[in-house]
Point group: C2
Chain length 239, copies 2
Amino acid sequence: MLSKSQIKLITSLKQKKYRQQHGFFVVEGVKTIKELLQSSVKLYALYTTETFNIDAKREFLISEAELKKISFLKTPNKALAVFNIPKEHPIDTSKLIVALDSVRDPGNLGTIIRLCDWFGVTDLVCSKETVDCFNPKVIQATMGSITRVNISYVDLVSFLKTTKPPKYGAFMNGDNVYKTTLVDNGILVMGNEANGISKAVEDLITDKISIPRFGELQETESLNVATATAILLSEFRRG
Amino acid sequence: MLSKSQIKLITSLKQKKYRQQHGFFVVEGVKTIKELLQSSVKLYALYTTETFNIDAKREFLISEAELKKISFLKTPNKALAVFNIPKEHPIDTSKLIVALDSVRDPGNLGTIIRLCDWFGVTDLVCSKETVDCFNPKVIQATMGSITRVNISYVDLVSFLKTTKPPKYGAFMNGDNVYKTTLVDNGILVMGNEANGISKAVEDLITDKISIPRFGELQETESLNVATATAILLSEFRRG
């Protein structure tokens, strides 16, 4: 049986301020939970309709009706786990880093985390205005990649000031990325969905790059930030 | 004032069978509607809270409360338009074509349509099991690109049998795409989110390609079909 205080705690974790206050985040679905259980992220409590055969103190068997009460999903997926938010590790500036300047859409951030994982980018640096990576929608979109990418929230302007060039930025009017020599110990900065990279960050960019448009009509406004990140990371890694 | 029959017609268009029966689809938001009004797609009726100053017979000024009744969005966006579903044009097999084998997620299809537009792919060929491109969530994700890409729903196996090679297919265990010579009058086939390319389609593929994984841990399961399409189209076009 779920207690009222358990329900209250779990549902509060939908909001960033309570995630930060308690130091917990929620993961749903058997597959992603299992992936996190195998990582260094620490489990606080598992609420499930079928046993996982883990530490009995941390596992609570509940009914589907109870799961529905605590789930953030329209169609709950057998289990919900509360994990401890892991500590941020120091940023390794000797390797390629992706930096996000105010990316707001949880699905975009989730996709970008998966891309970092795929392309071996171990550090993702986010401006304070970027959506929280422990937002349930981000977690849903990362599929476990969140355990393999070190995500840091920083003052992006200060961070860029303390790091060495090259600092690449994705712009609509940058140099053709296919004709640019990309050094893969730099920083790749991606901007906000609607406004791109902010002026203060733009001033610190050393190399503006762009993905050329091939359509005849030239009307497509821009690529989505996640698909643009996919193409640019591929360019950095293809050699 | 909206009549009951207008409300019934519009809300029915959420479902594919009624879109096909009536030959209409719904577009929401001032920006996307304006983009479609400038295209060859024919307007049937515009329901809006602020006048667009178009043909008075086709424009209906409504209240925000009325818009809320007919909108498919949680937060309606000033206007909703009903357009005639355009006729499919013949497929031009002399150029690069993207073909989808049972892509089910509306957001993925919408992103892929935008990518085709960006990379100058004029024909997108979908298996009958692929999500309908006039699904409101697809339209929301395409941002007007739908008017610039000719989308055909076909029996994909029959279509591939009648076309010339090369027929590229995205597989987890294909050849490294960065080391493959890509001919850009071929067909690029992308598979279903969970199951990839079906066996019957796989048998018709002449070149299996893959995006290499760079992470050390090799645990990321796969890239999302839309981000994989982004990377592969970039490879076809970069030259």
